[in-house]
């Protein structure tokens, strides 16, 4: 009888234990990786760029208004994406930075968006700046704009895009990020329309990716998701990408920001 019970217990425990071990090992690996993260180097580089005069007007970005007033960085990232009255549209961090480069520094849109995604040898200025600015929101609760009618419209558009299946594989974001306990290799796939999963994600982007030796922005993340879905490349800073970004940020709101994070 006792033996039977032991065998039964062992059988019950065997399967979940394996999955648990794998999860624990992945967590251990992620912890080790984040302890040696070079993300701070990007923060330092971003601060230099923020304060460096550039463009035809030869001014720095220090007067850039990220939503809390010109030059206010503390907590600004945690409030993005949000509606900006001066442009009458919802903008995320990168979109707003490009706006500041064109308005403050007098650079052309073409010049400001020439290299929106960098590579490991030469990161993009938006990647440096994103790391620096996001870091100034550490500890601040994520609270993107969700009240203005345009913010609500963007939120609805983002939600619709998240579930919209299209492309040669008939994929939507929800195809990968719609079910719990799924992963691709070492990477867990969070269910991004559920707050308890989304919170950890929005609190750690932008992030340094160890496998690429690069800091990656949220615009890059969305762009690459569309590439993986075999969809046409979305336009940088477009209404669609900002809406999707707002949908994710709003789903994960309330979480204290603890990035820029480190990903596998």
């Amino acid at each position: 009888m006792i033996r039977a019970a032991v065998v039964f217990l062992a059988a019950v425990c065997a399967l979940p234990a394996g999955a648990q071990d794998a999860k624990k090992e992945i967590e251990r690996y992620q912890r080790m990786v984040s302890e040696g993260s070079p993300v701070e180097l990007f923060e330092i580089g971003g601060e230099e760029l923020w304060k460096k005069p550039a463009g035809p007007r030869n001014v720095s970005l220090e007067k850039c208004d990220l939503g809390l007033g010109p030059g206010v960085l503390k907590g600004a990232y945690a409030r993005l994406p949000r509606y900006f009255a001066d442009t009458d549209r919802v903008m995320d961090l990168e979109t707003r930075l490009v706006h500041c480069m064109t308005t403050l520094q007098g650079r052309s849109l073409q010049d400001a968006t020439r290299r929106v995604f960098g590579n490991e040898d030469r990161p993009s200025e938006l990647e440096y700046l994103s790391a620096y600015i996001a870091a100034q929101s550490r500890g601040v609760k994520m609270a993107p704009g969700t009240r203005h009618p345009k913010e609500q419209a963007a939120l609805e558009l983002g939600r619709a895009l998240f579930f919209h299946r299209a492309g040669p594989w008939d994929f939507s974001c929800a195809s990968c990020h719609g079910e719990p306990d799924r992963r691709i290799r070492m990477q867990e796939l969070p269910v991004l329309y559920e707050p308890r999963y989304a919170r950890a994600v929005v609190a750690t982007w932008p992030a340094y990716r160890v496998s690429n030796s690069q800091l990656k922005t949220m615009q890059w993340r969305l762009n690459d998701c569309y590439r993986q879905m075999r969809m046409p490349e979305p336009t940088f800073g477009s209404e669609a990408t900002v809406a999707l970004n707002l949908f994710l940020a709003a789903t994960g709101q309330g979480e204290p920001y603890r990035g820029p994070g480190t990903k596998r």
């Binding site: 302890e35 040696g36 070079p38 701070e40 180097l41 330092i44 580089g45 030796s213």
Partner: protein, 104 residues
């Protein structure tokens, strides 16, 4: 070109000083090929020196590129709060950089 920013933290605990230093460096192994298929030449940090109040406490040689933007950590006996820690490196192409901080 290689000499980007460095970031260091040093803290003393139970008579042992923990030093963690982050360095900007491509750390090329010499095995990687660029977009044109040509080998990227070896380029790595070769010597790292740690000084505590001006006295050399660690002198290390590295034989190859270990990781882009590496983190090194050292544990050194002695040291007190406010002591000056200085870390410098020289790479195989002669470039160098240094940083210093006070032990917290």
């Amino acid at each position: 070109m290689a000499a980007g920013p460095m970031k260091m933290r040093a803290s003393v605990n139970g008579g042992v000083t923990d030093i963690r230093v982050l360095m900007t460096h491509p750390m090329e192994t010499g095995q990687r090929k660029d977009q044109d298929g040509k080998l990227v030449p070896m380029h790595f940090i070769q010597n790292v020196t740690v000084k505590l109040n001006g006295k050399t406490v660690v002198e290390s040689q590295i034989s190859q590129g270990v990781s882009r933007n590496p983190v090194f950590s050292f544990r050194v006996k002695g040291g007190a709060r406010g002591d000056k820690v200085e870390v410098s490196w020289v790479d195989n192409q002669g470039e160098s950089n240094r940083t210093e901080t006070a032990i917290a």
